[in-house]
């Protein structure tokens, strides 16, 4: 029994230490973020941020778009099959529109970015640690957080919400495809229904979530990368850990955000 309690305590401390590391990383990255901003910051960091936006956002657009189309279609079909029985097929539009903007869009995008960019960030930084590039940055009087992390964070904070919007649009468009084949509903009418069903709060809450998810993915990816000790196999382990931990934390954060928006909203 004592051993069990001891191991639970040790694991809890380990998790708390990790969350503490993330908080310190977040604080350091936020402080360093100004150096990556255009005009006021360093132009090389801003250029690096643009590269990150392209890598995290633009290059992921086809994949996220396709995933959103599939998920939108699945959601519409599953919802449609039940709602049809109650003569409420038109509610599929609400289901898809609200479901995507509030929940599925941000979550699906975050999971795609976590798998694609979270792992890449961790592998890149981990390799830099192993090849002494991070040490080189330090002895060249650079701040690795400023040099490596800030452009990635800024890039993700801009790219992920944009990608979420693309995801939402594709998901909602997939809903129209279902409605068109089910009821021959025109696109214009469908869009009018979508706009009627959505309120600004739905879109904003989804975008706030996507910003938080972007921060989680980059922070976990960077932290796992910076923690790499040893050789190439450690880089592989950090990559896996980055994806697993960031996906888990994104879902946990999603629950908290949904609860906050649920309890602060009108019912």
């Amino acid at each position: 029994m004592a051993k069990f309690i001891e191991s639970v305590g040790r694991d809890t401390l380990k998790r708390l230490e990790y969350v503490g590391g993330l908080s310190i990383g977040l604080w350091a990255a936020v402080r360093a973020l100004r150096t990556a901003l255009p005009v006021t910051g360093n132009r090389y960091r801003w250029k690096a941020s643009i590269v990150q936006m392209l890598q995290i956002g633009v290059e992921a657009t086809p994949m996220v778009g396709l995933m959103a189309l599939c998920c939108g279609f699945i959601l519409a079909m599953q919802g449609g099959s039940e709602l049809r029985r109650y003569g409420a097929l038109s509610l599929v539009i609400d289901l898809v529109a609200i479901g995507f903007t509030r929940e599925i869009g941000p979550l699906l995008t975050a999971i795609a970015v976590s798998g694609r960019s979270g792992s890449a960030i961790s592998a890149e930084i981990g390799t830099m640690v192993v090849t002494e590039e991070i040490d080189t940055l330090k002895v060249m009087a650079f701040e690795p957080v400023e040099f490596v992390m800030a452009p990635k964070l800024l890039g993700a904070l801009i790219a992920v919400p944009c990608l979420t919007v693309v995801c939402n649009v594709c998901g909602i468009f997939a809903g129209w495809i279902y409605m068109f084949f089910s009821t021959h509903l025109g696109l214009k009418l469908y869009l009018r229904e979508v706009l009627d069903s959505l309120v600004l709060r739905d879109v904003v809450s989804g975008l706030i979530k996507s910003i938080a998810f972007a921060a989680i993915i980059v922070l976990v990816g960077c932290l796992e990368g910076f923690r790499v000790r040893g050789g190439p196999e450690a880089v592989g382990r950090s990559t896996t850990a980055a994806v697993v931990k960031s996906t888990f934390l994104v879902i946990v954060a999603d629950m908290f955000f949904t609860a906050i928006f649920y309890f602060t909203g009108k019912h």
């Binding site: 360093n42 090389y44 090849t131 002494e132 590039e133 040490d135 080189t136 330090k138 002895v139 060249m140 009087a141 650079f142």
Partner: protein, 267 residues
């Protein structure tokens, strides 16, 4: 006058003492070679000299600043006067050789791009890589990568140049070229050079003084002739390349005797 002073430096990893109260004075303008076998503590000492690790106790004073206790801003200021060439060269793989050399100039100075370009060319010419600036590190041979890292270390015209195992992994001809380059850099740029190595030929070629490290302590610090004349058994073993008698050591012998007399081997 000492440009680097190491005083009572103690470093421990998980309770194991790696550096045991080291004292060393490195004079401005001299070439100090830190010589020692594997596990002697050379790399740990180097990392402490560069402020990459904090010791348990003792101090490292560089240009009258104790880098073990100074503020991050002071540490950065000191680091700008140090150029480092790591064992793995540690060039940034995403940048060309030119960009690697230009990085510190672009970030730490307000020089015009044309001046930076000229300075980079001069540094690359000094290491014999004037025609290779547009290549990426992965397109260079091992020796060329090391030379490129020397050019990068020279970028800000540092007062102190540090080499970590400069000849490791290089053939004797390229290693000798690199020794020439170290001597040339010192003569032309009038700097203090600190070299960490276990290569005897290289050490005796470039050193003004040698500090012989053994199990975390200095066995001797002196000129090449003083080290050559030393009668310390560990120094003699290192210089005369006498292998350790691990295979005939009492513990190993008794283990094998026990194993050979066990019933599994002799039924």
């Amino acid at each position: 006058m000492s440009i680097i002073s190491v005083r009572n430096l103690v470093v421990e990893y998980a309770g194991r003492r790696v550096l045991d109260g080291l004292n060393l004075e490195i004079e401005a303008g001299e070439t100090m070679v830190l010589l020692g076998g594997s596990g002697a503590g050379k790399t740990t000492l180097l990392r402490n000299l560069l402020g990459l690790e904090r010791p348990q106790s003792g101090s490292v004073v560089i240009k009258e600043v104790d880098i073990t206790r100074c503020s991050p801003a002071e540490l950065k200021r000191v680091r700008r006067s140090i150029g480092v060439s790591f064992q793995s060269a540690a060039l940034f793989n995403s940048l060309t050789v030119e960009e690697n050399v230009a990085l510190a100039l672009r970030e730490h100075t307000s020089l015009a791009p044309s001046i930076i370009e000229l300075d980079v060319w001069m540094k690359l010419a000094a290491v014999g890589l004037a025609d290779f600036g547009k290549l990426y590190p992965q397109e260079l041979s091992g020796g060329m990568r090391k030379r490129a890292s020397v050019a990068r270390a020279l970028a800000l015209d540092p007062e102190i140049l540090v080499f970590d195992e400069p000849s490791a992994g290089l053939d004797p001809i390229v290693a000798a070229e690199l020794d020439d380059l170290i001597l040339f850099s010192k003569r032309v740029f009038q700097m203090t050079v600190v070299v960490v190595t276990h290569e005897l030929a290289s050490a005796f070629r470039i050193a003004d003084r040698i500090a012989m490290l053994y199990q975390g302590s200095f066995l001797a610090v002196g000129t090449k002739d003083e080290i050559r004349a030393s009668q310390n058994p560990h120094i003699r073993q290192f210089l005369d390349r006498v292998p350790d008698t691990i295979a005939t050591a009492h513990v190993v012998e008794s283990f094998f005797e026990k194993y050979l007399s066990s019933p599994e081997v002799t039924p």
